[in-house]
Each structure stands twice: as C-alpha cells, then as structure tokens.
C-alpha cells in the first residue's frame, strides 16, 4: 500500500506541536536555532549501547536481556572496536530497529509498547534480540581476512508472525528469521522436565504434551546464506518491491537473487573492464525503486547515477537514464573527483526522487531530469578548504549515508564531531544537531549547533579547527511514519524524537 504524502494519516499529530520540518500543512514554526527555545525541537529518547558482553554476562548470572540493556544505558563504555555500529535500519512499521556492528553482530531493538501508566516511555527502544550474523573468515587464495563487519541490513516486509532481515558483510549475504517463542510444550512421555530421558520401565501412563506459556524468547535463525557471488566488496543490498528478489552490489558488479535460491544469482550489471588497469570508476551504492520492480539505480565514484530497467535486457550495462551534474568550474580542485564520489543513494518513499550524498553535499534529483539535481544542500562546506588534510588522514573517503523522512519533506545526513544535519525541503531551512553524551540528557531538548568558519567565534559556536574528525556520524535512520530518528555515533545509538507536548 502506497500512500502519497498528502494522504498519509498522521494519527494524533494534530494534537502535538510539530517541528517545522515535519509539519504537513500551514506556516512553519520558527526554528529553535532562531528563537533559542524549544518550538519544534528534538529530544533525546534514549541512548543505547550495543550490549557487547551480554552473552558472557548471561552465562554467569541469569539476567534478563532487558535488564542488561538498562544497565548498559548507564555509563558503561565497552568501547571496543567490535562495537562500532556500521549500519542502522528501521523495519517497515518502525517497531523494530536493527543495528549491525563491526564485530559481525546484529542487535535488534523493539519499541516500548504504549501504556497508559507510562505515556512518556513510548518511543523508547529496548533490546529485542542479539545474534552473531557473520564471523570473520579468511580468504586462503589471497591471504587476506574477510571482515565480519555488517555493511548493510535490510528488512523484508512482514508477512507472518516472524521478522525477516537481510544482513551482509563484504562477501556474504544472509537471510535471518527472527521469531518469538512464548509457549513451550510440557508433559513429554519420554523426557522429564529437565530434558533427561526417562527410563521406559518407569512410565506407567501416557499423557499428551500441552503448550504452556513461558518467558518470551526471541530466537534468530539463519534461513539462507547467499555466498560466493562477489569478488569485490559488497556495498549495498536492496529488497525488490516484488518481495521475491533482491540485489547485492559490489564495487564492479550487481547481482540479482531470488530469496529461495542460494546457489545461483543473476549478474545484472558488470562494469569491470577487460584490463583492470583501465579501471577508473566503481559502483558505490545501488537501490531498487520502491514501487517498480523492474527499475533500480546505482551510483558511481565519479558522481554519476544510472537508472536501469531490467526489462530492457538481461545485462543492464546500458543505462536507461544517466544523472550527472556538470562540474562547477569555480570549484575545481585536485579533489573534485574524490569529493564527487557518491557514498549513498536513496529513493524517496514516493519513488519520484532520488537523493545522493557526496562528500560535501546532499542532492535531490527528479527522475525526470537527468542533467542536474533539483536541490543541493551543503552539509559542511567549511571543509572545502581543508580537503588536503582530509585527504591525508583519509577522512575524505568517509561514506556518509542519507535518509528521507516518512513524508519525503525532510532529509538528514551526518557530519563530523558527532553532528548531523537535517534539511527541510519545503521551508529550505536546516539545522545542525549533536549526538553526544555530554550535551544531552534524556528528554532534554537538543540545542542546535553552529560551526563558525573564521573570524570571530560567537559563544556556543565551534570553530572548524576544533572539530573532532574521529567522531563521525555515518549511519542514521528515520522512522517510516513518525518523527523518530536513530543516529549511530561510534558504539552509541541515539534515539531522538520530535518533542511531544
């Protein structure tokens, strides 16, 4: 079911004051950075740490995972490298939020159910399930390790009681089934309650096992493993709107899979040149159209986007549409190509637009216009003069993601110093917020941040030279229908919500 933005039912939004970048109608409320106070602002709902040691702890002491999560909310910092969050994704209803980390683990959070007693607790997310999705592997032919880091997670729409998601590392995609178990059979004949076999001689009567309620257990099982189809590193996966197929894209090829078939995939895009020395461009991201199951786009390291129609031919090396903005000669530099490399491409929910993120900007393109984007937003243009340093320390290769809100009216992306930016496409206003422990108490309103470029630095502004480039927000997610966002900052997951009055 596809709703046009105007048709969407926002439920009880009318009773709440909306943030300016989320209001569907009427004049926008003043931005909090202008008034300095909280009209239309974001509050921190909770900060979650990926529970590293959950499995160890629960072996030693019998602890409920929810308790663990709560205790982790206090100042534990198991900040190992394996905890760095590498992907964040809401499911289609927004009830579940999945994160993948560098250690190959997937942690799924579930939204707290609304209860009359604790209305304010709605919107908090608690750990629902944790499992090890990928393990590190070793490629013996090349003598190189294959990282277990989860590059992407994509949810399948829910079709029964269980949840399904795809998770991928550099080489292998896996389909996981996450299901709940809240009943267990009791009263076996041949086994006793602890599972030990009973001596048949002692059995005098027969009984029928009955299902009795038990503590909720969430189990994740790998249902499919799609391996050995990618020579290069997988950067994207995308579920098709037919819910039967999905694609996986690496640096040079895109493969189409059927969920039921793991030993075969179709290659639909191949840009590998015959002579590798001639290679100058790689695929950086790919996505299926949200409604048209034959259409997909992929972006390249040269700042171009190609839209392909699978009906045209089996191998979609020839694009149907080619999106490229001509270079601005006044901005040319040594780094023009590198900063034009697209790190993320996302279709709008409507399917009419695509959004691309390159190093310094976010651009919105209309599918009907190929020669230039319809909107360009500067994320952190003050870095333009720092490109050489950023090249030297590799920050220029950072891959920022970008997301649409549910109504396609606001776009969000991350930056450095734990800053993230939101742009309202209608009002053309933008805001910079920070996801950090020091600056946000639960339920406190986030204060907009400002970076000063030079000259006098006003109070509360931060100068470009003071930015911490090791604190980068690469992964963010926006709830599909509500104003709830998830922001991953290293090993912390921040959940912010539009303020409810």
């Amino acid at each position: 079911m596809v709703l046009q933005p105007s048709e969407r039912h926002y439920g009880d939004w009318n009773h709440r004051r909306l943030g300016p970048w989320c209001s569907p109608t009427g004049s926008p409320a003043p931005l909090s950075c202008e008034t300095g106070c909280g009209e239309g602002s974001w509050i921190l709902v909770c900060r979650l740490l990926v529970p590293t040691q959950v499995s160890l702890l629960s072996m030693e002491e019998d602890i409920d995972t929810r308790k663990i999560n709560n205790s982790f909310l206090r100042d534990h910092s198991y900040a190992t490298e394996a905890d760095i969050i590498s992907t964040v994704e809401f499911n289609h209803t927004g009830e579940l939020l999945a994160t993948g980390d560098k250690g190959g683990r997937v942690v799924i959070f579930q939204r707290e159910q609304e209860s009359k007693n604790q209305v304010h607790r709605r919107g908090e997310y608690n750990v629902y399930s944790t499992f090890q999705s990928h393990e590190p592997e070793f490629d013996y032919l090349k003598s190189l390790e294959i990282e277990e880091k989860i590059n992407k997670i994509r949810w399948l729409p829910q079709q029964n009681a269980a949840y399904f998601l795809l998770s991928t590392n550099d080489k292998t995609v896996k389909l996981w089934k996450v299901s709940e178990r809240d009943k267990r059979p009791e009263g076996y004949n041949l086994k006793d309650e602890e599972g030990r076999l009973r001596d048949p001689a002692t059995i005098t009567t027969l009984r029928v096992p009955v299902l009795r309620p038990m503590d909720l257990m969430v189990e994740a099982t790998p249902r499919r493993v799609f391996a050995n189809a990618h020579t290069y590193h997988i950067n994207s996966i995308s579920v098709n709107s037919d819910y039967e197929t999905y694609m996986s894209a690496d640096d040079l090829r895109i493969n189409l899979w059927n969920f039921e078939i793991t030993n075969q995939s179709f290659n639909i895009v191949d840009i590998k040149p015959a002579n590798m020395e001639e290679l100058t461009e790689v695929i950086t991201a790919a996505e299926f159209h949200p409604h048209h199951c034959n259409t997909f786009v992929y972006s390249s390291s040269k700042g171009t986007i190609r839209l392909c129609d699978m009906r045209a031919s089996a191998l979609c090396d020839r694009h149907t549409k080619f999106f490229e903005e001509p270079e601005d000669p006044s901005n040319r530099s040594f780094f023009s190509e590198i900063i034009s490399s697209i790190s993320d491409v996302k279709f709008s929910h409507s399917g009419r637009y695509i959004m691309t993120r390159d190093y310094l900007t976010v651009k919105v393109w209309d599918l009907n216009m190929e020669n230039r984007p319809i909107e360009t937003y500067q994320v952190h243009d003050y870095l333009r003069s720092k490109l050489c340093s950023l090249y030297e320390n590799d920050c220029i290769f950072d891959k920022f993601e970008c997301v649409w809100n549910g109504s396609d009216s606001v776009i969000m992306t991350g930056s450095y110093n734990n800053f993230f930016r939101m742009f309202d496409r209608n009002t053309k206003r933008d805001v910079t917020l920070e996801a950090s422990r020091e600056n946000s108490k639960p339920r406190a309103i986030l204060k907009p941040r400002k970076v000063c470029v030079g000259g006098k630095r006003r109070k509360d502004e931060i100068s470009v030279d003071s930015l911490d480039f090791s604190k980068k927000i690469l992964h963010t997610a926006w709830h599909p229908s509500e104003n709830i966002i998830a922001v991953a900052a290293t090993n912390n997951l921040y959940i912010f919500q539009d303020k409810v009055n």
Binding site: D139, T231, H233, E277, T280, S341, S385, K386, S389, S466
Partner: protein, 311 residues
C-alpha cells in the same frame, strides 16, 4: 593537524609553524600550485604503498587515488611538452624525481642555506604539509590563478633528496615485477644514485638547471612505471602485489614518527633497506645522514641492481 576536539588558537598554530620555516615574502602562485600538486602526489603514493592491511584494501579508495596520480601525471606530461628546453647538467634519470626537482628552483632564492635547516624543521613541515598549504585560499585549483602570495612553507631542499631516494627505491621495487618496461626503469634508475651522490647541497644547483628538458623523455617512461605500479599493485584480482611484496616490510613507508624508526632491516633485501632507511631517517627526526656513507651505499646499491637487472 586536525584537532581532536581540543581548542587551538588559530594564531598560535600559524606562528608556531611559520617560525620554523623560512618563507619568502612573495611566492608566485604557480610555484605554490606546483608544490601542492607535488605534495598531493607524494601523499597519494604514500597511501598506495603505505599500509599492509590484513583485509583487502578498498577498491574505491585505490581507484580514486590512482585517478589522482594519473591526473597529476597527465598534467606533468603536458607541462613537460609545453616548456622550452633548459640546459641540463646531468640527466635526471629518475622520472618521479624530476617532478620534485621542479620545485627547488622557485624556492632556492628565498632560502639561501636550506640545508642548514636540519632535520627537524623540514621533517615536521613534511609531516604536515597539507595543513600548512590549506591556510591559503584557493590553493588547490588545477589552474593556478592569481592569488594572494602564499608563503612557501616547506623547506624545498629537504624534499628532493628524500624523494629521489624514495622514488628510486620505488623503482627498485618495481624491478621485482617481471615485465619489460620495468627493465627500462631499472636502467634508468641505475643512473640515479650517481646523480644523488652529490648530497643535498650539491644537488640543488643541479636542480636549478635540470628542470624540464628531460621531462619529455622521462614522461614516456613515467606512464609505463605507473602502469606497472597499478597493475602489480591493487587493481588485479590476483593481487600479484601480495605475492611479490610479501617479504617487503613496507613499514618504512609509514611516515608516522612512532613507527618510522622501527627496524626495517629484517625482511627487506639489503639494497632497498639501506636506501629506504636513508629516506626514513629524516622522517624520524634523526639527523640527516651525511652524504658520504650515502654515496657508499648507493654504489653498493648500484652494483646489486646491476646484478638484479641481469647484466
């Protein structure tokens, strides 16, 4: 270079670094452009050869760095073909080295005794060239535009000797690749050590006159070298690189002061180790090796290379 949340005063930063470096009052913008290009070229090479990751390096990153190197190389090629011939004292056999020698002529005027600067100042300048260069406006344009004069902040003489030995070492590594073009490179580089043996001081006057004339000739070999680099480097599935370079400890390419001083001798063939240690010495803040032992090692190097080439 880039603060990690600590607040630095912009003024202090400027003063601190400028104090160590002799800067001309007026540097032509073309020069600073060349210097920037040179710096970026250097950084790019470092990136390609620097680390030996446990996992496969990112193909996107490698491709982008390669494109950068190719572009700079193209520019040099074009400039080489446009420039009129200069009198040349000795043919700078090393193609990569020639591009670096281009810089000294511009800087030699304001810096009368650059070799006296010693190890420390140019090292740190070399370690943070990018941030210094970035303080200039519009410095990184492909076409040098009229700009406010960017004071030359790097000690130029520090650059050529290191680059020469660096690039000659690079060529030696390329010789390990069994292709015919690499043989040409080997031939070319056998001349290089002799050219370098004059030491930093003597080299500069040569640099003044060397300049362009041999560039057209060298530019022909340059793409070849580069192609070898890329083909044996990172763009093949087979990563021949791993097989060929497995024994080479490339930590010497790591210009991090913490690791640069670490032993480089163990895995390296003696030829490259000595040479690269010389390259390394400036970066580890040790006093620059005197030219005499340098010369001796280079003749040894010469000899061994002849053996390798299969004379």
């Amino acid at each position: 270079m880039l603060g990690k949340g600590g607040k630095r005063k912009f003024d202090e930063h400027e003063d601190g670094l400028e104090g160590k470096i002799v800067s001309p009052s007026d540097g032509p913008s073309k020069v600073s452009y060349t210097l920037q290009r040179q710096t970026i070229f250097n950084i790019s090479l470092m990136k390609l050869y620097n680390h030996r990751p446990l996992t496969e390096p990112s193909l996107q990153k490698t491709v982008l760095i390669n494109n950068m190197l190719r572009r700079i190389q193209e520019e040099l090629k074009q400039e080489g073909s446009l420039r009129p011939a200069f009198p040349a004292s000795s043919p700078p056999a090393d193609p990569l080295g020639s591009s670096y020698r281009e810089a000294p002529p511009a800087f030699s005027h304001p810096a009368p005794a650059p070799c006296e600067l010693g190890g420390a100042a140019p090292l740190e300048a070399c370690l943070t060239p990018a941030s210094l260069l970035e303080d200039d406006q519009d410095t990184f344009c492909t076409s040098p535009a009229a700009q406010p004069a960017a004071p030359a902040r790097l000690a130029p003489p520090a650059l050529p000797p290191e680059k020469d030995s660096f690039s000659s070492a690079l060529d030696e590594i390329e010789e390990l690749c069994p292709t015919s073009t690499s043989m040409e490179a080997a031939e070319a580089t056998t001349d290089d050590p002799k050219g370098d043996s004059g030491g930093p001081g003597a080299q500069r006057p040569e640099g003044l006159q060397d300049g362009r004339p041999d560039d057209p000739k060298l530019m022909d070999s340059l793409p070849g070298n580069f192609e070898i680099t890329t083909s044996t480097g990172f763009l093949t599935d087979l990563t021949l690189d791993d097989i060929l370079f497995a024994d080479i400890d490339t930590s010497m390419y790591d210009f991090d002061p913490c690791t640069s001083a670490s032993g480089t001798s163990s895995k390296m063939s003696p030829v490259s180790a000595d040479d690269l240690l010389k390259t390394l010495a400036p970066y580890s803040s040790q006093p620059v090796a005197p030219s005499q032992p340098f010369k001796m090692d280079l003749t040894e190097l010469d000899h061994i290379m002849e053996v390798l080439v299969g004379s």
